[in-house]
Symmetry: C2
Subunit: 359 residues, 2 copies
Amino acid sequence: MFKRSLVKPDGRLLHLYGRTSPPPECDLGGPSGGYGGSHMRWHPLRAEWVVYATHRQTRTFLPPPEYNPLLPSSDPNQPTEVPGSAWDVAVFDNLYPSLSADAGASPPQIVDTVPGVGACEVVVFSRDPGQSLGTLPLAQIELILDVWADRTADLGRRAELAYVFPFENRGVEVGVTLHHPHGQIYAYPFVPPLPARVLAQEERYHALHGRALALELLEAELAADERVLYRGPRAVALVPVCARYAYEVWVTPRVPCPSLLALDTEIRADLARALKTTLLKYDGLWGRPFPYVMACYQAPSDGELHPETQLRIEFYPPYRMPGRLKYLAGTELGAGVFTAETLPELKAAELRAVEVELE
Amino acid sequence: MFKRSLVKPDGRLLHLYGRTSPPPECDLGGPSGGYGGSHMRWHPLRAEWVVYATHRQTRTFLPPPEYNPLLPSSDPNQPTEVPGSAWDVAVFDNLYPSLSADAGASPPQIVDTVPGVGACEVVVFSRDPGQSLGTLPLAQIELILDVWADRTADLGRRAELAYVFPFENRGVEVGVTLHHPHGQIYAYPFVPPLPARVLAQEERYHALHGRALALELLEAELAADERVLYRGPRAVALVPVCARYAYEVWVTPRVPCPSLLALDTEIRADLARALKTTLLKYDGLWGRPFPYVMACYQAPSDGELHPETQLRIEFYPPYRMPGRLKYLAGTELGAGVFTAETLPELKAAELRAVEVELE
């Protein structure tokens, strides 16, 4: 992997990655933000931080409807976020970040408030707006995993950041209208509540049994073999026995691997195959792009090894049937209890039946 | 409050409530379910139960599109869920419950599974399909609070149930297509994860300071007076300083009141005023019915007093601007970190400016 890091005219960072050769020098342009800082307030009852980034509501940059900010620049009069020069994957600071390095002051309130320190990056998966993560060649998906690892290392070195979280929101059903293939990375100044809850279970289990809870569960899934979608030498994709979303899928290494930083060549290659299998099955299921939230969980960025946890990419698709969304409402959003109308075994059978070609 | 409890032909319970006189005897009919039981599986990483109620996906009862099951019956050939006789509020067991008294067996899995024991009730707020919770007379809203308290007492007496949770999902934006004014009550065999998290904070605070955390926060809100929408002698409505949703509102007693069971005449009357104020402001804001999830949090049903907690009705509206939904995606659903594009003070100012008439 080759990398060139640059600073945009408005101060935002841009990292260009090349698979086989270093990205050349290039001119930079593109939109510049009306960034006004953000702050966090403590929710004392839920014991969590809430981020207030008001510049996101009143965006000053209003592009024409056909403008694709993630397309490599070709017109110097209308530069995009990424240069037209050669690169394979690009990462840049979000124009309207929820969290940033220069978060500014936090106005005093009746609860604790702190500046919204962190990072919000956009990851451009491909130069080609017609592709998606799943249609990309395996080598490109491997590069994306490498880029995630590089960002985890870079951001994790910042002492004020505690957790690096790559994710993708895909589809208008989850609020995304820009279809150029891309994901995001948030780096938080704390371990967020949901990964923290999982880590607490994993720590308890590891202290008692000396093994990683997620790997134990994975072995039971492989033995049951009812819900496995991909079984490779180093990685697996499956509908978990305790799926909350109808078509929930987990993609994870089968060997101990707490974070993106622990990926070696073989795990990465197999994880790319597991990912691509999942994504092609999703799109093949109903013959249309399948919307989802993809969440990549890993160890916190505290420099520890974290043998208790395991890298895991979870997919949360909003559909429970063709054309029928699963709405999160009273019991899910209010109580935190998910009710599923379908069995994980049946949804796994549907996805297993979709044939895919990886290359 | 007057009450008549009945058993429908298919075994489901129906409770009719009258404000000023007892509901008379009546014939019962209506749809009967293809109920097939439900079970729960333990999610070992998140440490929570997931409910699988597959009969909800394949509903056997397919009513004609204009059929309103919550309208008092008038045609003996097409009975609804509720009789045509006199009543003011009706409660009945959901035809397709996620949790029920006769949940049946739980198939063995690689994680713990248990029957989906609990209760799922529908609360019909009014006989009139053209009303909504906020347009009802104060006396009717008081009756609904009384009915919630009655259901909390009834369900809480069942030894296997731990938490009674009244809620309302309102609007197609949160998945509700039946507009007859109604809410739901779920009774869980455990304290659900989100109330459990809040209770843990409240217990810690109470042990340290001997006071209820929510009441301390409420006093600070009243003193700041920036976000208060209604300030009565016994109850308050406000946009909380740590609102996660743009138009989030909390309605709560200002005097110690851990649960619906602790409501007295004065608190109930003022809580009804705070509720009605909130709902009329919501609908008045953009001159259209305002969608939301309403969650009513209270003490667990363990017979203890729970002075550490406080009854609180929270509203989670999905809109952040007219026509602009707030999508829950990567950071919210994946990490559990809410990002708000608006400040609670500004949203409170908008709602404060909406004038309402309570009677």
